[in-house]
Amino acid sequence: DVKVTQSSRYLVKRTGEKVFLECVQDMDHENMFWYRQDPGLGLRLIYFSYDVKMKEKGDIPEGYSVSREKKERFSLILESASTNQTSMYLCASSLLDSLNPASWGYTFGSGTRLTVV
């Protein structure tokens, strides 16, 4: 089974701090994604990456950056945490297989509940 591991389940940070959320997957997936989940808003895409050192903005990238130095690891960085970034953050990975739509589904990590005070 593919495993996507997020390093922290719960985090509490202060406003203005730089925050790193780490995600590691162990099945050699090319694609990795960061979403945030908020009540009434569903899952919104922050950033994604199709390959090492490659990144693309999602729907809500403001206030965030990402890093993908190795294929298995995708980090989300909050440059200066703010209270409106309090949320559940979900990392996901998937295969890059254009011939098989069934492989496009994501495997998610367990999430990191971040509270910014």
Binding site: V4, R9, N31, F33, Y35, G40, L41, G42, L43, R44, L45, F48, Y50, G58, L90, A92, S94, L96, S98, P101, A102, W104, G105, Y106, T107, F108, G109, S110, G111, R113
Partner: protein
């Protein structure tokens, strides 16, 4: 601009009855759809998918129906069980993008 919508934030169903969760989308170019289930404090887990070339896909108690002309997707759970109580998200993607757009979720509560 919400391209994938789940208009019912919550749904309660008696154990043993059918649960029907609905999802509407606006872009007719979506060609693959998935349903995910999410328990509190856990990541979403894949439930069932359907390609735009089909109108039905079944997996055990779960069936997904796709009505392309209405741009409507539904998930049927029969019979519903208390362990099905969770938040359900539908998601859609365009071929070749590998990037899913999620709905806002429906919280299903199955009453024993």
């Amino acid at each position: 601009d919400q391209q994938v919508k789940q208009n019912s934030p919550s749904l309660s169903v008696q154990e043993g009855r059918i649960s029907i969760l609905n999802c509407d989308y606006t872009n007719s170019m979506f060609d693959y759809f998935l349903w995910y289930k999410k328990y509190p404090a856990e990541g979403p887990t894949f439930l069932i998918s359907i390609s735009s070339i089909k109108d039905k896909n079944e997996d055990g108690r779960f069936t997904v129906f796709l009505n392309k002309s209405a741009k409507h997707l539904s998930l049927h759970i029969v019979p519903s069980q208390p362990g099905d109580s969770a938040v359900y998200f539908c998601a859609a993607c365009f071929s070749g993008t590998y990037k899913y757009i999620f709905g806002t979720g429906t919280r299903l509560k199955v009453l024993a």
